[in-house]
């Protein structure tokens, strides 16, 4: 489903984190939200996810206004920067969580949950880790668990906050390629936050460049690189 952000503003005291942001993420696309730290990109992502609240403006997902929909009912897959895995649960239970907390009429049976979790762990290529705990696996593996957990709820869109930020260069490169191929297979609308230009340009169909709470440029990677007319964008890209 598509994500449409319209005229979104959010202030934290004197700081304007989001300044009348408009953004459209078309269905099935893979969009990067690129910007320096403090540019408001994480706030935007969290607001779409329902974890922050805008002062004004609307968010539509699949055409539906999300203003009155709490985070738990948005059915959005969210992958946190530091994974936020449940430390007291096994990998299996982490992935199963979203299914187990469903209201009883919609909750799959135990056997169904097992089947789905194994399927997801196979999809993220860590089937052998299901009985491990988060502190017993590597950073890259945790990232895969976090992704499998987010996918378990069959989300309408996927939001990733600096998905590779905490990984070393080699694992990062591997995961990037893998994530892109996964997206090509699932075609799930994906919006990810990054401060790494190379990552944004290599991965995304479209890149939104953010600075000081505004989206300064939005388009295909080659267009953004070509568009040197915006001073802020040029500034940021020159770094």
């Amino acid at each position: 489903m598509s994500i449409e952000v319209r005229d979104l503003t959010r202030r934290f005291g004197p700081v304007t984190a989001l300044d009348a942001v408009d953004l459209t993420v078309p269905t099935g696309s893979f969009v990067a939200l690129l910007g320096p730290s403090g540019s408001g990109k994480t706030t935007l992502l969290r607001t779409i996810g329902g974890l922050e609240f805008p002062d004004t403006g609307t968010i539509l997902i699949g055409g539906r206004d999300m203003s009155a929909v709490p985070a738990r009912q948005r059915n959005i897959g969210f992958v946190f920067q530091h994974y936020a895995l449940f430390r007291h649960m096994t990998v299996f239970e982490n992935v199963a969580f979203g299914l187990r907390v469903r209201p009883r009429p919609h909750r799959p049976t135990g056997a169904e949950i097992t089947r789905r979790v194994r399927e997801l762990l196979a999809l993220v290529r860590i089937p052998e880790l299901e009985r491990r705990y988060p502190d017993q696996i590597s950073g890259g593996q945790r990232q895969r668990v976090a992704l499998a957990r987010a996918l378990a709820i069959e989300p309408t869109v996927l939001l990733l906050d600096e998905p590779f930020g905490a990984l070393d260069a080699k694992v990062r490169e591997e995961l990037r390629i893998w994530l892109r191929s996964l997206h090509d297979r699932l075609r799930l609308t994906t919006l990810f936050v990054t401060h790494d230009q190379a990552e944004a340009f290599a991965l995304a169909d479209r890149v939104a460049v953010m600075a000081s709470g505004r989206i300064e440029a939005f388009g295909a990677p080659e267009d953004i690189r070509g568009a040197r007319d915006n001073v802020l964008v040029t500034d940021f890209l020159a770094r």
Partner: protein
């Protein structure tokens, strides 16, 4: 390489011996003295002192007060810690300071506050008398005083831990569709259970052992408003040394049992968790 853990052997040895000596003299020895004194004049004297009707009433009252206070403070302490650690709101620092208040105020003053509020000449005294409600020199007063004194234990154990653990896991649970209660039950509670248990046990130990605040609001009516610590004081003042120590030994035993329960529970879960 010379580091903090690379002290010469004799220094380490001396420090260990010193630590054991201090622990023995200040912690172990008094505890042993209590039990030795309790049994000095034989089992029968000790048993009689404990099965005396006034002593039994004191034991019952102590357990009753703890049974009321500990659950209330567990729930309120957890709620306070949850609110402080997981939400941003104005006045958080003030609330943290307020939670610490019972630790910084003398228990006697805490007791006096309740007398000033609910005593016969207190702010609400006339109204309470008119409605025939007795708070001070009765069970409600004992419960209130103990609640006040033992409030910080649970919250103080939890706040630093919950702050350190942050909100990430809770937020992840919410995006996965969990309700507020499910988040608490399935994510927050398992992460804090050991600190919570430790806080509850400390709260319980103090609730049973509290003397100062309870002494002020109790009125010392034998067989009615005397808790175990107060009963021990009365026996001691009446030169019934063996009896006093017998009840004291029982009180100490209750504390030791709580500690043992904690140890067993911890050992049990460690066995259940997987090999690293």
């Amino acid at each position: 390489m010379i580091g903090a853990t690379q002290e010469p052997g004799w220094v380490r040895g001396a420090l260990i011996v010193a630590a054991i000596a201090v622990l023995s003299v200040f912690l172990l020895l008094p505890l042993m003295v209590v039990f030795a004194e309790a049994l000095r004049r034989g089992w029968d004297v000790a048993r009689d002192a404990i099965t005396d009707p006034d002593a039994l009433a004191a034991i019952r009252l102590t357990l009753l007060v703890a049974a009321i206070v500990v659950p209330i403070n567990t729930i309120c302490g957890t709620a306070a810690a949850w609110a402080i650690a997981k939400f941003d709101f104005p006045g958080r620092a003030t609330i943290v300071a307020l939670i610490e208040l019972p630790f910084s105020v003398s228990p006697v003053i805490a007791g006096l506050v309740f007398i000033l509020l609910f005593g016969a000449h207190g702010w609400f005294g006339a109204w309470l008398q008119a409605h025939d409600i007795q708070i001070v020199f009765a069970l409600p007063g004992l419960v209130l005083a103990t609640l006040f004194v033992t409030f910080p234990f649970v919250a103080r154990e939890l706040i630093p831990l919950m702050q350190e653990q942050g909100r990430d896991e809770e937020e992840a649970a919410i995006t996965l569709g969990a309700s507020g209660w499910q988040v608490f039950r399935r994510v927050t509670l398992p992460n804090i259970r050991w600190a919570l248990l430790s806080g509850v046990l400390l709260c319980n130990a103090r609730a049973m052992g509290e003397f100062g605040a309870v002494s002020v609001v109790s009125g010392h009516v034998r067989g009615e408003t005397n808790t175990m610590p107060l009963h021990i004081e009365i026996l001691y003042n009446e030169y019934q040394i063996a009896g006093a120590f017998a009840v004291a030994a029982l009180l100490a035993l209750l504390a030791l049992v709580t500690l043992a329960v904690k140890g067993i529970l911890e050992a049990h879960t460690q066995r259940r968790s997987p090999p690293a």
